[in-house]
């Protein structure tokens, strides 16, 4: 089997031994209607309405979309326009907590078959918790039959340990979630793929799933980006997802490890997705740790909770160092896909210099693109050449920019180049 390229990163998993700590209930939460991929929701509440914990506050009739629920009890104090970190504009519902945390009437769903599982997962408001936020009920309903379920526990980004803590703290939930999904979707095998830098998790899974021959534990090499879908599929099954194909076309489904554990918890408790684990770290954070926070809590609350030197913070990243997005304002809320908040008191302001054609970007690219050539073609807007260089297959893992000695923003250029290619 040909090895895919990968780069060694400094793991910086400072928080790996920090037990998840519950955040105090925030005074106010802001819930954007578009937190995941898919159509944004329409608020189902208006200013002045009372809501309870677990109440649905936004929904959408489109299939490719998930509803939004409140994580606090209290009063809706505003429904306004909101600009997300990615620049998308949507409505957002602001709820002021009454501190009671009164629960709505929650009934665990009854799951008997595939259809009931999928509708229950949609109602839970679940989307992929790993960062991209793909609606889980769509993923669980592929067009072709799937024989292998891959559980993505790579967590290859530096700093983040949110998934790792899930593996250690809720190992049982992960395995039960796998069994449930496997049974309901009639999937034969499951593989839990974990990067080699998490030996404790691998040990625990191996021990607990020993008796089950349908669940395999795969140890991935400690090379970034193991968690990328195509990479993890190839490294755990040897199957190649061709250009334009979906994982289900090669009989695989990849689900994040926290997502699968959440499915099981939802089936047991009926509590929609209103809290999540967030790794708070970075050199401006004095007390790096994993916290469990209500979705919609302002970023600044989490930073304060972890003793961040707020006056020194220059850059806040939602997600990982390699693929995360910068947050322009600390009063923005955390969303369903915020797996980490990294606050830094410095940033790289080194100027970009000329390409020396060293070829490091080509060697770093996990799928064998040639970023240096793409950049040249992009400069002259040579669309045919960009197509031949397969720029549309770039998954923006950032490895090329990371290794560039001239500090060229190659990953960014790839994204810009993609927009030049007409979709047909």
């Amino acid at each position: 089997m040909k090895k895919l390229n990968g780069i060694k990163l400094k793991h910086r998993k400072h928080t790996q031994d920090c037990k998840t700590i519950d955040m105090p209930i925030p005074e106010k939460i802001t819930l954007p209607m578009a937190m995941n991929m898919g159509a944004p929701c329409t608020p189902t509440v208006k200013k002045g309405d009372k809501v309870l914990v677990g109440d649905k506050i936004g929904d959408c009739s489109a299939e490719f979309s998930v509803p939004v629920h409140s994580g606090v009890s209290g009063e809706v104090t505003a429904v306004s326009d909101y600009i997300g970190a990615n620049g998308k504009v949507c409505k957002a519902v602001e709820i002021t907590s009454d501190g009671e945390q009164e629960l709505a009437e929650l009934r665990p769903p009854v799951i008997t078959d595939k259809a009931s599982l999928i509708s229950a997962v949609r109602q839970s408001g679940l989307c992929g918790l790993g960062g991209a936020g793909f609606p889980t009920h769509i993923k669980l309903n592929p067009k072709t039959h799937v024989d292998t379920l891959i559980i993505n526990g790579a967590e290859c980004e530096p700093y983040i340990t949110a998934d790792y803590r899930e593996m250690l703290e809720n190992t049982e939930d992960v395995l039960e979630g796998i069994r449930l999904v496997k049974d309901m979707l009639e999937i034969k095998y499951a593989k839990i793929a974990v990067e080699a830098n998490k030996p404790l998790a691998i040990e625990k899974f191996t021990e607990m799933a020993e008796s089950d021959d349908t669940i395999d534990i795969v140890t991935l090499p400690s090379l970034y980006p193991q968690g990328a879908e195509k990479v993890i599929i190839y490294n755990s099954t040897g199957r190649i997802v061709q250009e334009g194909q979906l994982p289900s076309d090669v009989g695989v489904m990849v689900v994040n490890i926290s997502t699968i554990a959440y499915i099981y918890r939802y089936i047991r408790t009926g509590m929609p997705l209103v809290t999540r684990r967030v790794t708070v770290d970075g050199n401006a954070v004095k007390l790096p740790q994993n916290v469990s926070a209500v979705i919609g809590t302002p970023v600044v609350d989490l930073l304060k909770f972890c003793n961040t030197r707020l006056d020194a913070v220059k850059k806040v990243i939602s997600g990982g160092m390699m693929m995360g997005m910068c947050i322009p304002d600390v009063n923005m809320p955390i969303t369903k896909t915020t797996n980490a908040l990294l606050a830094f008191s410095r940033y790289d302001d080194r100027a970009t210099s000329a390409c020396i054609r060293c070829g490091r970007c080509v060697r770093a690219c996990p799928i064998g693109l040639m970023p240096a050539e793409i950049e040249r073609a992009y400069k002259v807007r040579n669309i045919e050449e960009l197509k031949a260089l397969k720029v549309t297959m770039c998954m923006n893992c950032g490895s090329c920019t990371y290794v560039c000695p001239a500090n060229r923003k190659l990953a960014e250029t790839n994204q810009l180049a993609k927009t030049l290619i007409p979709r047909n």
């Binding site: 895919l4 990163l9 400094k10 530096p158 195509k230 190839y234 190649i240 997802v241 061709q242 250009e243 334009g244 707020l310 006056d311 020194a312 913070v313 220059k314 850059k315 806040v316 990243i317 160092m321 390699m322 693929m323 995360g324 997005m325 910068c326 947050i327 304002d329 600390v330 830094f344 940033y347 790289d348 080194r350 210099s353 000329a354 020396i356 054609r357 070829g359 080509v362 690219c365 996990p366 799928i367 064998g368 040639m370 050539e373 197509k387 260089l389 397969k390 297959m393 923006n396 950032g398 920019t401 990371y402 290794v403 560039c404 000695p405 001239a406 500090n407 923003k409 990953a411 994204q415």
Partner: protein, 313 residues
């Protein structure tokens, strides 16, 4: 609270910088240069200093005149200067060396757009220009350790020794105890530098191995002593430091192998059939010109990409 910085991912900044790469290349050239200075004396050192100084100066002036940002701090001009010095005989008049620096930095590098944009290796091209412009200066050699009296003992490079006269031993060739350019004589010192660069992952050993291997193989087939051919002339210098130049050689490993083999064939043909005793510089220059075409033919295969889109239409 500060205004927050917003920038595209990735946000990590842990990488090797251009100047660090260039610095490593300078370090790697030091053993060969030191060897040259030992063999040929202070003159070699002076030539080296003049080449480096003039290269940096030309780079500075050129960028200034073109109203571009200054790039001398990336150390690429220092590398060019050192490389040029290694390619010159120790007896070269200093004004000729300065002309070489001018050709390398101004004509070959900056006029084509500066670092990374030049299609030919600056030091190689400068050497060739000097060779055809000042053939006498460029082919006046001295024997090692006779540097106190240049006029007294003129030597011939191992490849230009007339038939019938004694040739140096393999050991002398390997260590560098022969006549030649300042930095080309000691295969040992050059190899040390090469190993250092390979270990630091700055160069890929594919091109040097292919280059040296091809020359050896072809010489063997033609019935010429392959070891003598490999160890003499500028083969190690060219293979390790110039056939691995980033800007003027292909990026992919397969491309580098093709480049190396091509250099090897041309070098052998010039040495065997040409009127010049040495063909390393010409071979590298010719392959530099072919690099864009080799590049086109040796693109990486993208993981999971469809073979050709034209098939569908």
């Amino acid at each position: 609270m500060n205004k927050l910085i917003v920038s595209p991912s990735p946000h990590d900044d842990n990488y090797l910088k251009t100047s660090e790469i260039m610095f490593s290349v300078c370090m790697a050239m030091l053993p060969a240069l030191a060897m040259g200075c030992c063999m040929f004396g202070a003159n070699a050192l002076i030539v080296t200093l003049v080449c480096v100084g003039s290269c940096v100066l030309f780079e500075y002036l050129c960028r200034k005149l073109m109203k571009r940002d200054n790039t001398i701090s990336d150390l690429s001009a220092v590398v060019t200067g050192m490389l040029l010095a290694m390619n010159l005989p120790p007896t070269i008049p200093l004004w000729v060396a300065v002309i070489g620096s001018f050709v390398a930095i101004v004509i070959v590098k900056q006029l084509f757009g500066g670092l990374g944009q030049n299609f030919a290796n600056p030091a190689i091209t400068a050497r060739i220009v000097l060779m055809v412009s000042f053939p006498t200066y460029m082919t006046t050699w001295v024997k090692p350790f006779y540097w106190h009296d240049f006029d007294a003992v003129a030597g011939a490079t191992p490849l230009a020794i007339p038939q019938g006269e004694p040739t140096p031993s393999y050991l002398d060739l390997f260590v560098g105890n022969v006549s030649g350019c300042i930095g080309e004589t000691s295969a040992l010192a050059l190899t040390l530098g090469g190993i250092f660069l390979v270990m630091r992952k700055i160069i890929n050993p594919a091109a040097p191995i292919a280059f040296i291997g091809t020359v050896g193989l072809l010489s063997f087939i033609a019935g010429i002593d392959p070891l003598y051919q490999i160890l003499s002339g500028g083969l190690f210098l060219g293979a390790i430091f110039m056939a691995t130049d980033y800007a003027t050689t292909p990026i992919t490993t397969s491309g580098k192998v093709i480049f190396g083999v091509g250099c090897g064939i041309i070098t052998f043909v010039i040495r065997r059939f040409g009127s010049f005793p040495e063909g390393v510089s010409f071979s590298i220059l010719l392959m530099n010109v072919l690099t864009p075409y080799i590049e086109q033919l040796t693109r990486t295969k993208v993981f999971g990409a469809k073979a050709k889109e034209a098939d569908e239409e």
